[in-house]
Symmetry: none
Subunit: 230 residues, 4 copies
DNA sequence: AATGAATGAGGGTTCATTCAT
DNA sequence: AATGAATGAACCCTCATTCAT
């Protein structure tokens, strides 16, 4: 048994090494421009070995994407579990998304890239199905939080939870894409700090979704906080 | 003279035909996955002929992108010139962007695609420069409108025009990407109509930027309009 | 009649212009690397027009080579006619060859290039035949001079005129090739002036072919010349 | 270990096979007119395989040239080491060059071809540098021998070793080119045996460079030899 | 399990030549 | 006579994948 287990572990370890190499190369060049040769070299393995662990280049890419999706899900799960109220959950999930964007930019870009319908035609249906299912898990999770926020009276009950989730997400997403591609342009030409703008914009949007009472309570606590600070 | 003119026209016409063919192929497969053979076949011309009109595949791609950028600029220019107030300009430009998204979806996707840093590595610096310069023209135009809106008292003067432009644009953009990729998913699972959500979300955002007076006047006129309709 | 003649002249003139252009391009890049487009552009004519005057790229190349061969023949003919003795003829022809090398280096190289058997396979048999016939005319001429030199007692009658011609020619030729490719190398590393070496070497070789009497007479006249100079 | 060595040998062997195929094709058609397809076919391998062993067509060509240069150098080295006096070295090196010309005619032609300035433009600078450095090694070697011949009193000390080397080499070279291209012409039309002419011409030239004493000693030994023979 | 040699199907681009105008 | 648009056959090189060892 022990031998078999060790072999199992070693195999898993080798798989991870290959994934690390592939991830590095894919991040740099994207799916098409990356070659199996490069990945093999980065993994310090022969090209043939890659095919023992992954059945194609695309399969490798999918495995890397899966890593990223798991990473995002973990961040979200952690945010949710650490928060002490539905409102806090929403905020922390938002922060988690921004963390993902900032600290795993390459995955953020990979996901963006993958969204393009052009891309879909170059990829097997299996891969598409897997990715979409993952994606929907995340959306279901986010919408679930908002729903709880409404049900527990934190957010206005005239709002649709799915719509709120989409608006909050898309608001962040849209600004992140801008930040990823034009951070310097806006800073230099218009003195705009996109990073702060994301925070600000998201908080404003969230407040407009809160019930009257919650908003007032929050304003009060902010005032107190500010007084304490000063 | 007539002969030369006709030849000129025919040549231009042939160029357009090639562009049409290339556009079709690029829309379907993207830059890398499209081949000159496919484009030549779509254009019903020999591959060599393509090179009489465009010096490389990339050049062809750039020409297609340029078409799209001109299209977007024209839509924006038309929107601006037809509007009768800065506020109306902002709204009409927003509508123009949504029109572009709805009626020229493939160009919208192409631009998205082009933004990816991975993509930049596969494209000449010349091409990047041209596209970025176009892009900045558009941003300058949009920010200009908002600035006028503030200067003429329609929008709150405590706001930064560039920040407003970015927020409005990114808000629409984020939702459009969602709509482009998950329209059906949200409609079927949560009954959300993304198209309406874009309108709604944009109008809300815009209102939060207006000065008190303007917002009230608008609310009044809306009431009147609604009464007239009913 | 006058009209036809003028047309004839114009046509000839146009042909010359094309040849000038082709020559320039061929000199720079050689047969294979030169394109009809380049030649057409250099001639400020359309590509199609080239084919009205020459039936192929190769044909054009042949015409340029012919020019060069005529040039060399003219130089030789002039040298021969201006000389006042067989010995002087030989010397002047040698000088003419060196003049050709120095002032029409590109033709010298073209001929060299053309000699390569590899090259022959890429060229029509017609072309080969024409060039070889020209080449033999020149050899016949040179050998003829030497023969006269022997017959009239200037050169040793135990020598074979063809052998002498070959030795003189090849001696110059071998040094010229060296000079063409390694002039700098030998000057910088060994202080050798290849140009002077050609003169010296040729004169030595020629003297070794002279009859005793002629050599003494020449030595005497050189002494006198040197005394006059000093 | 044995396995690795065998693989190493096999790989080397395969490389040689490819080189043999390439050599054959290059000899026939030259660099430009030879295609990788032809070489692959001659090697009975796929085109892709060629690129596992050589990074480009030019690299393959360079490898073939290198073979030739090594061959010539080996011949020269052997000639030098087998000779028992500087004078004998010079003679044996001359013979080695003639052997190279006779037995490796295609390499002789390849080197000629490579000298053409036109050719240089079609070849990478790296390649040029490598070939020139090889070429200079040979020249240095040849000049070195002559220098020793002078220093040890075999050759006249009023002569420059580099000049002598150039004259001897170029004399042979010029006649070889003639022989390569017009052997038949001269034999049939003028009864000249170019092969013997090279020997004779080279020996004459060498004698004119010897010191008086050496020349007399040689003449004497020749007389004796001839008497013994008769 | 791991290797890495071998494959072969393209991919973008070039260019001599033709031909309708 | 002159044009120049169009062709199509190559050419060099790449790379995902396979397979014998």
């Amino acid at each position: 048994m022990g031998i078999q287990e060790r072999k199992e572990r070693e195999k898993e370890h080798r798989r991870e090494e290959i994934l690390n190499a592939a991830q590095k190369v894919f991040f740099e060049k994207g799916l098409q421009a990356s070659t199996m040769d490069e990945i093999a070299e980065a993994a310090e393995l022969s090209k043939g070995t890659l095919y023992l662990y992954f059945k194609s280049k695309e399969d490798l890419y999918l495995a890397v994407m899966t890593r990223g999706m798991e990473l995002l899900q973990d961040l979200f799960d952690k945010a949710i579990s650490e928060a002490d109220s539905p409102l806090d959950q929403i905020r922390k999930v938002g922060q988690a998304y921004r963390t993902f964007f900032n600290e795993h930019r390459n995955f953020f870009r990979m996901f963006n890239f993958f969204q393009h319908p052009q891309f879909h035609k170059q990829v097997s249906e299996d891969m598409m199905a897997i990715c979409q299912s993952r994606n929907q898990e995340i959306w279901d999770k986010v919408i679930g939080i908002i729903k709880r926020g409404i049900d527990q009276g934190f957010l206005r009950n005239d709002l649709d939870p799915a719509e709120c989730a989409i608006m909050l997400w898309s608001n962040s997403y849209g600004l992140m894409v801008r930040m990823d591609t034009q951070l310097e342009y806006f800073r230099e030409n218009f003195g705009v700090d996109l990073e702060k703008l994301i925070d600000k914009s998201n908080e404003l949007l969230l407040q407009s979704m809160m019930t009257e009472g919650v908003r007032e309570k929050m304003a009060l606590s902010n005032t107190l906080n500010n007084e304490q600070r000063s």
